[in-house]
Structure formats: structure tokens, C-alpha cells
Amino acid sequence: MSTITSTIQSGVSRELRNHVSVGQTVRNSFSMAYRGLLKVRRTPEQLIDVTLQPIIFTVMFTFIFGGAIAGDVASYLPLLIPGILVQTVITTSVVTGVQLREDMDKGVFDRFKSLPIARIAPLAGALLADTVRYTIATTITFVVGFILGYRPEGGIGMVVLAGLLVIVCSWALSWIFAFFGVIARSASSVQGISFLVLFPLTFLSNAFVPSDTMPGWLQAFVNVNPVSHLVSAVRDLANLGTIGGDFWLALLGAAVVVAIFAPLTVRAYMRKA
């Protein structure tokens, strides 16, 4: 019965395979995602950014910009909440890269690498587990908005769909930050590069201010920025209950990001792993 005293099957009599099946890859990735969730449970302070940030940003932006942009706070909420939502959740996805880097520097990664598991599983698992963080941030933003007086006209179903869209797109963007996480030397440099990408993406968009108030050259960028399409899509869904062209453009943008960055990240990761 005892593990250590039962005889060990010899090295040559075992049945061995040199490749990993798709099924095993998926199972391994879910095991790694499960690890990600256990870690969150052990260190709940990791959730501060996805809980406090939506609260602070929503309240702050509502009262700073609310009066100036829409005349009064209540009429600013339908414009603001989708913007805040997208901005917060995307900011959250930066952490994916930072945590990946920290993780890869730890001794436990040596064990992952020495196990007969899919090479990609630690990476896929990390990204998978992070969708839970996006879900928390999404939920809190909507709830805070509701408390401040936001009443989305689209109805609960469309709000949920909007939330899912944001989660999917953030997951797609997190591949960019995962890429930085894999190639960077240290966790802090990941943070640095990531914010350099993140700020133009989120602030040079229509997230907080309608783009028609901006100078022409800026509008040009804002209008092709996939984040703008995502924000517009969320506004359409939550406020009007409609699925417009922006919805599909946002998904297309997400698909393009994944198509570019997933292979890049995986290749860089495999070279290191």
C-alpha cells in the first residue's frame, strides 16, 4: 500500500509516448487553471485590483467628468459605465503578463517542465484562470454603476452579453501582455512595457469622451482603435439592446490580436520552457 515501498516498474517495460494528445493538452490546461484559482484563494489580496479599481474608477470618473461632459451625472452614466468597464477589465489583463513572468522565475516551473505534460499548459492555464478575474471586475463595475443610478435600457440579458464580450476581448488582449511576460527579463519591466501599450489603447479611445470632440488626427486613431469598437459595442448592447457593426468589429479585432500574439507568445514560451 505504501507508495514508497511498492516496487517500481522498470524503465524499459513501461508504455511510453513521445507526443501529447489534444485531450491531454486540454486536461493539463484546466489543471493549471485550477492552480491559478487556488492561488487566488490563498492570496485574496491579488484580487484588490479587480475589486477596488472598478469601484474607485467608476465613482471618480462619474463625479469628475459627469458634470463637464453630459451636464449631469445621471445622463453621463450610460456613456461612462461601458467605458470604465472596458478600461478596467483590459487593465486587469496586464496582470496576466506580470504574474506569468513571476511564475516562470519560480522553482515550481522547473517541475512543470520536468513533467510529461503539454508544454503549453502552464501558459494556457494562466490565461484561462484570468478570465475569472475579468468576470469579477465586470460584475463589480456594473453593480457600482447600478448603485450610482445606471439603469441599462438593454435589459439584463444584453448586459450579460456585453459583459461576456468584454471578457472575451480582454482575454484576447491578454495574449499581448502574456507575450511581454514571456520575453521580458523581470516582472517590473513587463509592467512597464504593458502600460506603454495599454494607455494609448484605453485612453485614445471613446471610452470616456465622445470622439467628435477630438482633433481630426486623434479621431483617426480613436476610430480604428479596437477598444473604441468594443466600447461602442457595449454601449449598443447595454443601453439599446442592439448588436451593431461594432460588436463584430470588436470580435474581429480580438481575433486578429489572438491570431498574431498567441503564436508569437507560444513560440517564445516554448523556446524558454
Binding site: M1, S2, T3, I4, T5, S6, T7, I8, Q9, S10, G11, V12, R14, L16, R17, N18, H19, V20, Q24, N28, S31, M32, Y34, R35, L38, K39, R42, T43, K106, G107, V108, F109, D110, R111, F112, K113, S114, L115, P116, I117, A121
Partner: protein, 335 residues
């Protein structure tokens, strides 16, 4: 011609270069299936790098290695099914509890949910960690961490286990527990490749030893062969009255038949010790001449001397990694 089942590890000409540092510079190793093989060397000798290459964690820059006949580069995934690796720095997840770690690694090893729980509990029991199973690893002692690490390496019951400095930094009691565990592992048919900085440890555990220095194997053989190449143990005497020195030296010459070395302060005499049985005769002779001793010690060859003999230079900054005095290979008796 040996078949692949005879050799758990066969490596030829392994090289790893970091920048312009040839960390491993042409290492050959052959580990017979079912044996314990010790890789002995000081800090920075390249032990960890060798293990990492054999365990598929690092790609060799040159050379070739197989594990049970499977190439570590081209059949890496097969090799990973045959090995367990306990790294020098704990390769377990610090943020999880002991149980969570073992369940996770069991799942990754392909065990089902329920099986993984059973396996985790079994291993916790086996390694005396049940009481601490739910606590986060932050509060674990070095010894507990090592045990958990080893437990995690045994989940798949691998026929080959790599142990990188399994006892460095452990207190004497935990160290001897670890030795017992390693011996039990071997009795189940596992092959063990371990690295160590202590000749004593290699001597206790390993069937064969490779001494490695600056990335090269400088000697290989059984512990006895190695020690024979370095010389015998020596006997050290400290006299109560330094004036007795000449009489004492004469007594040693006549009883043991060897020449002695005198320490500068003249009170300490060192003599090569070929036959421990004759020590009694010497002590009787000294008593008869009324020569009193303050100290009598047997000094086994130390790693330092092994290196001095084999490489012509000693072990650098040995003291910082060396465990406390009770573990130095020195049996000390006060006379």
C-alpha cells in the same frame, strides 16, 4: 555490450556554455540501473547544470545523453515519463498547501480527481507531513519543504530520480532522515542520481561517485577507490606538554611505523593512519611513557583534500555552505 536496460543514464561529452562560462565542459556519466550515483563537487562546479540537461530542463550545447535508452532531446516527453526531479531550490508551489501541491502534480501526472487525493494523502503520510498538510508552505521548515519536494517527485513512481543537493542546509537529524528515505527508495528498485558537496554523504549513499570540478569529471569510481586515491585517514594528537613532542614522535614511529607531520605550534601531531587497530597499541605506549594527551581525533579525508589531490586546488568558499561542526566528517574523541 550492455543493453539500454542496464544503464539508467548514459551521457557523453555534455557541454553547456553560459556566455563565455563553460559551466559544463565535456561530462561523461554512466549510471547503472538500480544504483545510487553521486555527483560530488563544490559550489559552481556544474552539478545542477548537468542534472538540468539530463532532466530535459536545459538543452545541451554539445554532447548526447540518454535515459533508459531514450534521447533527452529528441524523446524528451518519454524521458519525462521516466524521471522525477527534486531540484536544488524547492520546486513546489509556495502559495499552495502541501496537499494542494501533491493533488495538482498528481492531476498533471494523469491521475483522476479521487486517485489524486488518495495519492496525496498516502505521500503526506509517508513523508510525515500529514499534520502540516493544510498549512501554506511559507511556514514550512527547510526539511519539510525538501520532503514535500521529494514526495512530489515520486507521484508517478519514476524509475529514475534526480536529487540535486538533497540535504544541503538541513540539520543533522533531518539529514539522516533524508538519507533513510533515499535508501528506502533504492530498495524499491529506483535508480537515484544525486549531487552533493559532501564526500561523507556520497560515501554514505552512493555506489559510484563522479567528482566534478569546473564543469569536468576529475575522478570517477566507488567511494573506496576515491578515498584510496586521496589517501588514508589521519590521526591527530594534541599533547598536554609540548616538551613531550620528541618522545611522542618516536613512539608513533615505532608503533605505527609512519612519519608524522608537526603543526607550527608543535603541540599537534598528525600521522597517517593505515591500521586503526594499532591505535590502541600507540595509546598504551604513550601511557607507559607518561605522555598526556589533551585531544585525540581521527580526520577522514575531507572534500577539500579530495579536491586538492585531484585538481591541485582546494574548494573555494567552502565554509559558507558547509553545515555545522557536528556534520563535518571528523570523529572526535577527547582523551
Amino acid at each position: 555490450m550492455a543493453t539500454s536496460s542496464d544503464w539508467a543514464v548514459e551521457a557523453t561529452g555534455l557541454v553547456k556554455i553560459f556566455g563565455d562560462n563553460r559551466a559544463v565542459d565535456g561530462v561523461d556519466l554512466r549510471v547503472r540501473t538500480g544504483s545510487v550515483y553521486g555527483v560530488l563537487g563544490p559550489n559552481g562546479a556544474g552539478k545542477t547544470t548537468v542534472i538540468r540537461m539530463l532532466a530535459t530542463l536545459l538543452r545541451p550545447d554539445a554532447g548526447h545523453a540518454t535515459v533508459f535508452g531514450h534521447d533527452v532531446q529528441h524523446e524528451a516527453q518519454i524521458v519525462r515519463q521516466l524521471i522525477g526531479v527534486t531540484g536544488q531550490y524547492a520546486s513546489v508551489d509556495e502559495t499552495l498547501s502541501a496537499t494542494e501541491n501533491l493533488v495538482l502534480f498528481s492531476r498533471l501526472n494523469g491521475l483522476g480527481r479521487a486517485e489524486s487525493r488518495v495519492k496525496a494523502n498516502e505521500l503526506l503520510e509517508e513523508f510525515g507531513l500529514t499534520a502540516a498538510a493544510k498549512r501554506p508552505l511559507k511556514n514550512f521548515s527547510g526539511g519539510m519543504r525538501r520532503r514535500l519536494d521529494l514526495a512530489a517527485s515520486l507521484i508517478s513512481q519514476p524509475p529514475l530520480i534526480f536529487l540535486d543537493e538533497p540535504t544541503t542546509g538541513l540539520d543533522p537529524r533531518t539529514r539522516s532522515q533524508m538519507w533513510d528515505t533515499i535508501r528506502r527508495l533504492v530498495s524499491t528498485g529506483s535508480t537515484v542520481l544525486l549531487t552533493t558537496q559532501y564526500l561523507d554523504e556520497a560515501d554514505q549513499l552512493a555506489d559510484r561517485i563522479a567528482v566534478i570540478d569546473t564543469g569536468r569529471v576529475v575522478a570517477e569510481g566507488t567511494a573506496d577507490e576515491l578515498k584510496a586515491s586521496v589517501g588514508k585517514s589521519s590521526l591527530q594528537l594534541r599533547l598536554l606538554d609540548p616538551a613531550d613532542r620528541d618522545d611522542a614522535v618516536r613512539a608513533i614511529r615505532s608503533v605505527l611505523g609512519v612519519d608524522v607531520t608537526l603543526s607550527p605550534e608543535a603541540a599537534r601531531i598528525t600521522a597517517p593512519m593505515q591500521d586503526p587497530d594499532r591505535i590502541t597499541d600507540l595509546l598504551v605506549a604513550l601511557r607507559e611513557q607518561n605522555i598526556s594527551l589533551t585531544e585525540l581525533a581521527v580526520q577522514k579525508p575531507t572534500l577539500d583534500e579530495v579536491f586538492l589531490t585531484l585538481t591541485g586546488h582546494g574548494v573555494e568558499n567552502d565554509s559558507e555552505t558547509r553545515p555545522d561542526a557536528s556534520e563535518t566528517p571528523r570523529g572526535r574523541v577527547n582523551a
